[in-house]
């Protein structure tokens, strides 16, 4: 075993479910962990989901104890609003430069009462809510986000644009808002690195045939996740743009699969989950799924599929060739495997896009000197053996940074990175 890696601190990049799990295991063993997170909150994409398959656990409730444990763990230093800028060295002795952006709200003094939001005169689209609702220039992404401490978005804040506004500071009872905070440049010494940077969705604007961005009631799956969420923009009410609940919904699988050349592995289950959820909220809604192959791998998923099918969801094996507006409804033109063409109308269309690696993966890959697949996922050293080791000793990958994964697979990989790192130190 390698003796250079002796109880050194570990850098974990990305505070989604994978990064959280890896950090907790490493920290509980006694290691110091630096957890670098680009956004202001922990929990990644998982906290955007109201419920997760296959048991329809409430996602935010499910991971809240892990989040609390992480925030309370003295061995973990959470660096939010932070990005890795340079990495040098090798296993046991990496030097990492991290830029930690100022959030302008003091973590110690702020109690998360949100009194500062209301007086802020700025309103911009909330990215966390898939731009379906507005937020202020001082904000937390959604109710319940952790740490429950807002940040100031300097691109939109009037004060940082040179105007004389201090509405938020005046509203704060705890002197938590500090406009003089500065970005920090940190230099960390670590022995090993875990990359858990997650995924983003395929850009639906690229598949023009589906009319995303063109027709009001064509949504991405992630938008529907937020619409279904009780802490989301509609507080869980499912409505089309006219303000009515939809009577019919079409869910289209595999959007972008042909372009990407791989199956994103979780979308069939995610589509089934959305069907389940829509049926629960709107028992009369007619749901049709357009799919090519149903991919529901493993012991736990088929039961869920059978239940959804029994609840009256239709499945059509076909390729959707075009979506157009037809009066109040959307008209979905599709072609079955035998070449026969047909059309179906629905009031709401949900597109389920392929998963891609998170933005900036290439930049990070270059810094870490680890190879990527042609799609930009980080490459594992031994593709058919373990997915967590990379070509660089001491650098490990977990979750969707390596390829499309569900939550369980991501957590297993995160635990595996901890296993590999902890076994190095002897």
């Amino acid at each position: 075993m390698n003796n250079e890696e002796q109880n050194t601190p570990v850098l974990v990049i990305g505070a989604g479910i994978g990064g959280i799990e890896a950090s907790l295991l490493l920290a509980n063993s006694g290691r110091k962990v630096y957890l670098v997170e680009k956004t202001s909150y922990i929990g990644g994409n998982v906290i955007k989901f109201e419920e997760v398959f296959p048991n329809m656990d409430c996602a935010t409730c499910m991971i809240a104890p892990k989040q609390q444990e992480l925030l309370a763990n003295e061995n973990i230093e959470l660096l939010r609003l932070s990005e890795v800028e340079a990495v040098q060295g090798s296993i046991g002795d990496f030097t990492v430069k991290v830029r930690k952006k100022a959030g302008y709200v003091d973590l110690e003094n702020c109690i998360g009462c949100s009194a500062c939001f209301e007086p802020c005169p700025v309103e911009v689209d909330n990215e966390f809510e898939e731009r379906l609702s507005k937020r202020k220039a001082i904000y937390i992404p959604c109710p319940g986000a952790l740490p429950n401490v807002p940040v100031i978005d300097t691109e939109n804040c009037l004060r940082f644009k040179g105007q004389d506004c201090q509405a938020c500071q005046e509203a704060c009872m705890f002197e938590a808002i500090d406009y003089t905070q500065q970005d920090e440049e940190l230099e960390l010494k670590v022995g090993a690195i875990v990359v858990a940077t997650g995924f983003k969705s395929f850009d639906l604007g690229k598949s023009t045939q589906y009319g995303y961005n063109k027709f009001n009631d064509v949504y991405s799956a992630m938008e529907i996740e937020r619409i279904c969420a009780s802490n989301g923009p509609t507080e869980g009410q499912i409505l089309v743009k006219s303000g009515e609940p939809p009577k019919s919904v079409a869910i289209i699988h595999c959007v972008g699969r042909e372009e990407k050349g791989y199956c994103s592995s979780v979308c069939c289950m995610a589509s089934l989950k959305l069907s389940h959820f829509l049926k629960k909220k709107l028992p009369e809604v007619k749901i049709t799924q357009f799919y090519s192959d149903l991919c529901i791998p493993g012991k736990a998923y088929q039961k869920f599929y059978e239940e959804v099918k029994e609840s009256g969801v239709y499945f059509i094996r076909a390729t959707v060739t075009e979506i157009s507006q037809s009066g109040k409804e959307l008209s979905i033109k599709y072609k079955a495997e035998d070449g026969k063409e047909n059309t179906l109308n629905a009031e709401m269309v949900i597109l389920n896009p392929a998963l891609e690696p998170a933005a900036d993966s290439s930049k990070l890959a270059e810094m870490l000197n680890i190879p990527q697949s042609k799609d930009g996922f980080f490459s594992e050293k031994e593709p058919d053996l373990t997915s967590v080791a990379t070509a660089q000793d001491g650098i490990f990958i977990a979750g969707c940074a390596q390829g499309p994964k569900d939550i369980a697979e991501t957590v297993v990989e995160a635990e595996a990175t901890a296993g590999r790192i902890l076994s190095l130190s002897r």
Partner: protein, 565 residues
């Protein structure tokens, strides 16, 4: 000793003070029994607030503390730590949530104030019934028992074994290597399974901290996290062995669904219908045909039909790896018999993840046919076999083949039941071993210190099995550290020897296997190391013998009577 309760009401800026009339609260609760004083503070969780709290507790020589503030989720630990620093057992403090449960949930200030008074009164009433609990520690053994010498068990042993941690790998057959050893090729790299396993076994045997016990069976496991006692029977030597370990990993693998149960496939009746494992065996140089793909008549097949999902409908799950290994079969067939015609009868292609579609596309280019079928039937036709198929919505057809390879569902191995019972681990309704939480704790079982990896918990491919073995190692290396004691949960359950009638209700409802039955005394006994303090047993016990520390009947009653008064 006289009881002296200090009551502290936090204003939380204006968060509480805006809704709850704190003056009224103070006036109402000050005269209550044992209350020494009631004080308000702007923000108790701030550094200044905590310092004030600590000094105030010390100054007044309090015996109990009630804090009316936010949710216990937010700051219970914060205030318990302050109490400890001030010299009071943290269990002798009680938090009343007057923010989330009062100030924040009503626009009506009178209602908020009334409810806050009830909550604080309840906390005052309860706190004197709280009992100081001391944190206990137990020694633990860092060594690990791994059951099953396949790829998952071998990899777990490799990652875990070290100078300060011994691993015992118990395998019931005479040799290590599991199923993978018998695969001539592996997807997607098409390398030999045998040479992979030989290399892994060499690496394992070179590790002096691993003790391999082949032809051995685990007969009994007693104990708990950090302290398991294991009894192993070495069959060949007719010897019994006792081992002490701190954790157990189950890597007992899989078996195939028996296609004889489904007569429509002709398995066992028609000569050239094979299971996937039989086809694998045909391809290894040491196999019965010396690695040649041959029909029973000694000739190579001209046409092969591969039938997917045999038993899927009966098992109600997709076995996940079959689509990929049947694509591997295409490559094996085409490389040995370039002219062979290969047809797949399948319903859905399941090739999840970033790299498998490429493998599929490249395989398809070799000239392989894919036919959708949800209902397939194999019959002999004198010369070879006819395969009838039906697919949705209504297309039907047939094709001929002189070899049929069935791809059966994967099932749990025959030992699964035995280990589930031995270790008190639940099964999942499909025969596999269940994990603690499907998403958040996917390799730990509900019994602390026992892990389930690879196909023992469900169909997995090789890479997934290895990652699970590394994950189990991660959990063990993180928690079972040589020289470190285990700190136990203090709010655990206890069962009164006097009141227990031995009905065993508590044993059934305990999700952690923490309760056992003492046959000699005819009573249930709680193992404090395993108890998580969930309270199931206390709720279910018909005779009031099971009690949860810190949540006893008396404590809850004292609290509730003031809430509803």
């Amino acid at each position: 000793m006289a009881k002296k309760i200090g009551v502290y009401v936090c204003e939380c800026g204006t968060n509480i003070a805006e809704k709850v009339d704190i003056d009224k609260v103070i006036a109402t609760v000050s005269p209550l029994k044992n209350v020494e004083f009631v004080e308000r503070h702007k923000l108790l969780c701030s550094e200044g607030g905590k310092e004030f709290l600590k000094q105030s507790i010390e100054e007044h020589g309090l015996t109990h503390v009630v804090i009316a503030a936010c949710s216990p989720k937010q700051h219970e630990i914060t205030f318990m730590n302050v109490c400890e620093q001030a010299g009071i057992n943290p269990q002798l403090s009680q938090l009343a949530n007057i923010r989330e449960q009062c100030a924040w949930v009503t626009p009506n200030a009178d209602e908020a104030t009334d409810k806050a008074i009830r909550q604080i009164r309840a906390a005052i009433s309860r706190v004197t019934y709280n009992i100081p609990l001391e944190i206990k520690e137990v020694e633990c053994n860092p060594d690990v028992l791994v059951i099953g010498g396949g790829i998952a068990g071998i990899k777990a042993s490799q990652v875990l074994a070290g100078p300060d941690r011994k691993v015992y790998l118990v395998e019931k057959t005479a040799s290590l290597g599991g199923k993978v050893k018998g695969f001539s090729k592996l997807f997607t790299n098409m390398e030999s399974g045998l040479s992979l396993m030989e290399q892994e076994i060499r690496c394992l045997l070179g590790n002096e901290n691993v003790e391999v016990l082949t032809e051995s069976e685990v007969e009994q496991i007693l104990g708990f996290l950090g302290n398991f006692e294991v009894n192993v029977a070495k069959k060949a030597e007719n010897k019994e062995l006792n081992l002490d370990v701190g954790a157990v990993i189950l890597a007992t693998g899989f078996e195939l669904f028996d296609p004889k149960k489904l007569p429509q496939y002709g398995y066992g009746k028609l000569d050239d219908v094979y299971t996937s494992l039989e086809f694998e065996e045909m391809n290894i140089p040491e196999g019965p045909t010396s690695g040649k793909i041959l029909l029973k008549n000694g000739k190579p097949p001209e046409s092969v039909a591969i039938i997917h999902c045999v038993g899927r409908e009966e098992k109600h799950y997709c076995s996940k790896v079959c689509c990929l290994y049947s694509l591997k079969f295409d490559r094996m067939l085409k490389s040995q018999l370039p002219a062979v015609k290969v047809s797949h009868l399948y319903s859905d292609l399941c090739i999840p993840g970033k790299s498998f579609q490429k493998f599929y596309e490249e395989t398809k280019e070799l000239g392989v046919e894919f036919v959708r079928s949800v209902k397939t039937e194999v019959t002999g036709n004198g010369k070879g076999m006819t395969i009838k198929y039906e697919s949705e919505p209504s297309s039907k057809g047939d094709l001929v083949a002189d070899m049929v390879i069935l791809i059966p569902a994967m099932e749990s191995s025959s030992d699964t039941q035995k280990f589930a019972e031995m270790l008190n681990i639940p099964q999942d309704g499909r025969g596999f071993l269940a994990v603690e939480h499907q998403l958040l704790s996917p390799v730990a079982s509900a019994v602390e210190g026992v892990f389930v990896i690879g196909c023992a918990q469900g169909p997995q491919n090789i890479s997934e099995s290895i990652v699970q073995s590394e994950a189990a190692a991660g959990k063990i290396l993180s928690s079972l550290i040589p020289g470190r004691k285990l700190e136990l949960e203090v709010r655990t359950s206890e069962i009164s020897e006097t009141f227990c009638t031995g009905c065993k209700t508590c044993i059934d409802v305990c999700p952690y296997g923490a309760i056992t039955f003492d046959d000699s005394r005819r009573i249930s006994v709680v193992n404090e190391v395993l108890c998580h303090g969930c309270g199931n047993c206390a709720a279910a016990c018909p005779s009031g013998a099971a009690k949860l520390r810190h949540f006893t009947f008396l404590q809850i009653y004292q609290e509730l009577k003031e809430v509803v008064r």
